[in-house]
Symmetry: none
Subunit: 196 residues, 4 copies
DNA sequence: AATGAATGAGCGTTCATTCAT
DNA sequence: CATGAATGAACGCTCATTCAT
């Protein structure tokens, strides 16, 4: 293991410890001491890699954001807007199941008071909205969907998906049949928006 | 003014101060000092009426919950399930606009890590879900809606309404035409669930 | 003992403890913990009475400044400028002997890097200079002293007195015959400035 | 470049960096990190050349002391004590203007609480005093000056010069006419001490 | 010799909670 | 009941010093 990787290892260790702890306890309740102990380094080491706790929070959010963004590139490749919609729903539910940290932080951020968390939530939300508005407008243009306010429609669907995600985050044990959820959301939304 | 009312007055004052402060700054960032100062009583008085800050938080939530519950009694009186659905949507958007404290706390609670906030969110959520499941099942029984999983449908609609509420909470200045929102949600949802 | 005096007592205790400690160790090396322990109160108590350590430092300096100022009122009452000069010298040596804390802080402040200490030193210094310039100008006007730059003369005498003070502060044990010092300073300075 | 010179070069670099930094920020506020960064070496290198920060401080002072001493050898060569006095005054004001680092450290040391700084100040002070006492005693012996306590007279003049130096250090921008200062100090002091 | 990552004691400050009055 | 002064544990952060490479 080279020096770079070692250095990276401590950094990574702290970022991962923080990601988990922030998700579990919120970043307020998480102390620098806990993060470093969890990562197996001394307290002072924290400040070798991060200016302060705030910076680490931003890095954690940044990282989760990147992860989330990658998904959209895949989705964007699907030509049919209806199909893209379905994939969006499926992907979102799956992503949340596999990235509990992101999911929890996303919920935290929605109700946050801290500026950085609020901004972060806004960025994620905007990303969703832009994607969905794009799909819907294309669907309208192609005659699949009836004419409507694409912002409202995007928010509508985002809300549905969000709530199904929240259900899975808050009560992971009670959740089964993800495919069924996807079908239900997709077909019900389609029923509401499709051209007559 | 009797002793009881005096006592009650201080209690009330602190609960109200806390409600506003919790909504504005989150309950973490709100100090006992601020609450008592805002309520015009001494710091020590706090502990005559509440065991600790946690208990006050619970009381604040309890109170907001009661307020919210009252609404459902009115809605329950409407016989037609489709009409009840429409009223639910309209009421929820209106309620949030008029009860910013409740609204913010609701967002906080969704992402909370504190046990009491989580429980509170669950209670509110259950209330919504029970109401909506009831309406939907009745609508199915009466042949208005197609056969479907009423829990999923309830969650679906809850999500939509929630996201429109969140939009109004997070960007109050950017929100207009509530009636238009209600129409959109109602008709789109109906399009998705109505019997063929 | 009333509430006011009690409150005052803790405050006073901390100010006095701080005055002594700042003089002994410098305010950098003095910790809040030491101050409160010396004053016999808990650490948190400090912040009931002072916003932060900086504020306490300012208060300590303020207080010492007031004490020092009082002296000048007495000196101002003496009509003859030559006599006033002599009294200034005598007073300054005596004051330093009786107010070791002030003296040490004064020395600290001369070489300080901290803004508040520097400002404080400037204020004290300006006070000396204004007093001395006044005396000298009056002495010139009355024909006691030859015509000269009063600022230079004031600085000249201030330097002499300062150095005799510093000697007494830094090596208190080696100092005797204060009256002899006063005579020497007075007569030598007079010899240098008196009219031919 | 041999190993010795390399070693010496790093040492020198750190001593010089420290001299400047101590003067600018005080040695408390100066971190080892800053010193090594300024000197362009690694942090750990510091401890190869100095036991700790304290030792470096001593070395810095030592070096400044040597520099200062050199001046006195030149002054010593002047045979006439009155002339030597004048040269002392002129030299001191000039030295301070050209050695801001020494000057600031000198002020720091006067009010210091650290043992090593105090000792350093004492050494410098003793050097001044010995020089001045020598001059004065010679002047007395030669009949230029009246009989007097040479220690007192030395302290007297040292004080005057010190205060004019301090003025130049603390408010460099406000200082003009050094020659005028020298003349004033010299003639006024002479007026005070010369034989009748 | 030289590095710089790692350490951890120690600092100033906050705030929920207690308790003498 | 009511007060608010007092407490002290806990936090985020700094920096002189060590040590494996």
């Amino acid at each position: 293991m080279g020096i770079d990787e070692q250095k990276s290892a401590k950094r990574r260790g702290m970022i991962q410890a923080a990601t988990a702890l922030f998700a579990k306890k919120g970043h307020h309740r998480t102390t620098v001491d806990e993060i470093t102990k969890e990562a197996g380094v001394a307290k002072g080491t924290f400040y070798l890699y991060f200016r302060d706790k705030e910076e680490l929070l931003k890095l954690v959010m940044q990282e989760l954001l990147e992860k989330h963004k990658l998904a959209y590139e895949v989705l964007g490749a699907t030509p049919c807007p209806k199909e893209r919609l379905r994939q969006y729903i499926a992907w979102e539910l799956k992503f949340i199941a596999e990235n509990a940290d992101f999911a929890r932080l996303n919920l935290n951020a929605l109700g946050a008071v801290d500026k950085s968390l609020i901004e972060w939530y806004s960025m994620i939300q905007r990303e969703h909205m832009e994607f969905l508005e794009g799909v819907i407008e294309e669907g309208c243009a192609k005659g699949y969907f009836k004419e409507m306010d694409s912002t409202r429609a995007a928010r509508f669907l985002r809300g549905v998906v969000f709530m199904f995600q929240a259900g899975r985050i808050l009560k992971p044990q009670a959740q089964g049949d993800m495919e069924g959820d996807v079908d239900f959301i997709y077909s019900t939304f389609l029923g509401g928006v499709q051209a007559d």
